[in-house]
Symmetry: C2
Subunit: 203 residues, 2 copies
């Protein structure tokens, strides 16, 4: 399998962490978003909307979207299980993976896109919307902290894909100068330290 990725972008990192947890071998091709290599006609043949990551199979078929790629790999390599083993656990993991994506990662990406020098002159930036998202994120970090007082991982007693998504969001948030408030959010900080100890966090 061949993964088109950018080493600095959060969505490709979700897939690399997932592959590392699974112990799955794969090749990579770097597609730099900084130099707009993802927007060339050639790459748009792989993904018409120019997003990363993209997975290419041996037979040339391509699969887009981080979670679609992770689910595909979970189907091919069921162990260790990261998406749940029964209906209720699968639902809980899906719920928390979506909370991590929609309540953390998506707002973080909006702060980055709408304020950072990286995108200046390349997209229409709206810093005022980034302010709204910063406020949203402060409330959500506090909520995740409260939830993580009740259990060691987002979806329950064990590490799952939801923890990967949240960790990638929180690490990427530092680019936008958003950090865990360790004093006020000790449970979130302790959870993050647990994730950082995993070898997959270096992927």
């Amino acid at each position: 399998m061949l993964l088109y990725h950018d080493p600095r972008a959060p969505n490709p990192r979700r897939v690399r962490m997932f592959f590392a947890e699974k112990g799955v071998a794969y090749d990579t091709i770097e597609v730099s978003i900084a130099t707009a290599a993802n927007e060339t006609p050639e790459f748009r043949k792989k993904n018409p909307i120019a997003l990363l990551p993209v997975l290419e199979l041996e037979d040339g078929k391509v699969l887009r979207e981080s979670v679609a790629i992770c689910r595909y790999v979970e189907d091919l390599h069921p162990e260790p299980n990261l998406f749940g083993t029964d209906a209720w656990e699968r639902a809980q993991i899906e719920q928390w993976n979506r909370h991590a994506e929609l309540e953390l990662l998506w707002p973080v990406q909006q702060v980055f896109r709408n304020t950072h020098e990286y995108w200046k002159g390349r997209i229409h930036q709206v810093p005022e919307f980034a302010d709204v998202m910063r406020e949203h994120l402060a409330a959500r970090y506090a909520w995740f902290d409260k939830e993580l007082a009740q259990r060691p991982y987002l979806a329950g007693e064990r590490f799952t894909v939801a923890d990967i998504t949240a960790a990638c969001a929180i690490d990427f948030a530092r680019v936008a100068k958003i950090r865990i408030d360790v004093a006020a959010q000790p449970n979130l900080a302790a959870w993050k330290a647990r994730i950082d100890e995993r070898p997959s966090s270096k992927a």
Copy 2:
């Protein structure tokens, strides 16, 4: 099963359409976003972040997030299948459900939130961000039209959960005065007409 919903909101509608396709019986409680009934301390016990829909089971357990609810119901009631029957089909459906959600529904909700009278004075609106999202949606409607020239449904030859998400996004977009350009986007219009013929579209 008991579904907390708002009849006018797009995410609860995704679940109602899904339940209708499955032929699953359920009860509903209306939680009006217009009157902020979703923000009461009582409802926040069901969902701390005040979003709809929420599914409550017979034993009192609650499940949040539209897609988590749909996956749970798919596990309990596998037929008709709406999430895929093998690894590759499941991956394709996940990919297209995410495209429908992240490229259509999420931007549509941002246009609505940041411009509509409904939210005026209730949230910090940023109309300039809505303009960015409108431009994004015009490009994505054109892309979906191009894709739907190649097959009858988003993820392939048959109706799936991805079509539900896209249809709910496109219907809700009319609230923000965004409509399919029937002359320029005939494939998207024909697909939408196919979805509208299904009894579930009235759910």
